[in-house]
């Protein structure tokens, strides 16, 4: 137990010094610090981006783009806020930029490593139409809805990632669900 705690403290100290080197941007240590941070956080950033864009190939590209933005913005990093929340905010905005360039219904919306839908009353056709209606939502509403409703993340976490208030998250989710219902009704589906 003591050994594990000492190891965790040691790792924490190492990461703390890496974050300090990253923020300072000293040419002698910056690149090594950035590489360490990349390897420690690439999985978390990829996973976060994938939750938003739901396209593994795009998520890989956007993870690299996120770290590119992190690389350039190192001087603005605030150690008191923590690296992961900061990276998550940048990743969310990177994903939002990407979604804004995509045409509705042309991007891949795939079921990422998820169990098959369990409700037999909801047919594949309805699920397909719902996914298509979702892709037609404005990107800002899509992100709030997918993170809060599908991924069931706390509103506080979604608000931090989107740099908006919790109330704004609730409003966006509500608007997204209302637009989704209207779109489905136009297609003859009454939820």
């Amino acid at each position: 137990m003591k050994g594990e705690k000492a190891m965790r403290d040691g790792e924490s100290n190492v990461l703390s010094s890496v974050l300090d080197e990253f923020r300072r941007g000293d040419p002698a240590t910056f690149n090594a610090a950035f590489e360490t941070l990349f390897h420690v956080h690439q999985r978390a950033v990829y996973s976060w981006v994938l939750r938003i864009v739901r396209n593994p190939s795009a998520a890989e590209d956007l993870t690299v783009e996120t770290f590119w933005r992190i690389y350039r913005a190192h001087a603005r990093f605030d150690p008191s806020r923590g690296f992961e929340p900061w990276a998550r905010t940048i990743a969310t905005h990177t994903a939002l930029d990407w979604l804004s360039t995509q045409r509705p219904e042309t991007e891949l919306l795939i079921d990422v490593a998820a169990p098959p839908a369990s409700d037999p009353a909801i047919s594949a056709e309805i699920r397909g139409k719902t996914a298509a209606a979702f892709s037609r939502l404005p990107p800002k509403l899509r992100i709030a809805a997918v993170l809060a409703v599908v991924e069931e993340l706390p509103h506080k976490e979604v608000a931090a990632a989107l740099s908006i208030s919790i109330t704004a998250v609730k409003v966006r989710v509500f608007r997204a669900l209302r637009l989704l219902r209207e779109d489905l009704q136009r297609q003859g589906i009454t939820p």
């Binding site: 590489e35 990349f38 390897h39 690439q42 999985r43 990829y46 996973s47 994938l50 939750r51 739901r54 593994p56 998520a59 890989e60 590209d61 993870t63 690299v64 783009e65 770290f67 590119w68 690389y71 919306l109 079921d111 990422v112 490593a113 998820a114 169990p115 098959p116 839908a117 369990s118 409700d119 909801i122 309805i126 699920r127 397909g128 719902t130 996914a131 979702f134 809805a145 997918v146 409703v149 599908v150 991924e151 069931e152 509500f174 669900l177 209302r178 989704l180 219902r181 489905l184 939820p191």
Partner: protein, 73 residues
């Protein structure tokens, strides 16, 4: 939209879009990151330089135009 409709839409939404959960990339992305870091920034097209030069020259010849330019920025 009442609470029942909202719940129904949420259920439909979750069925159509299952959670992605905690997934890791299929490959290490560091080589792609290195390529991104090594990529040279896109060169500025010659006509952008010409436009900037023309504007600078115009501002030198007609200094009174500077506030007008700033207003429209």
């Amino acid at each position: 939209m009442n609470a029942h409709e909202e719940d129904r839409i949420k259920q439909l939404f979750k069925q159509a879009m299952p959670p992605a959960g905690d997934t890791e990339p299929e490959r290490d992305l560091w080589p792609a990151m290195l390529r991104r870091l090594d990529a040279r920034p896109a060169p500025v097209p010659w006509f952008d330089w010409a436009l900037a030069g023309g504007l600078a020259l115009f501002a030198v010849v007609f200094p009174a135009s500077i506030p007008v330019f700033l207003y429209y920025l």
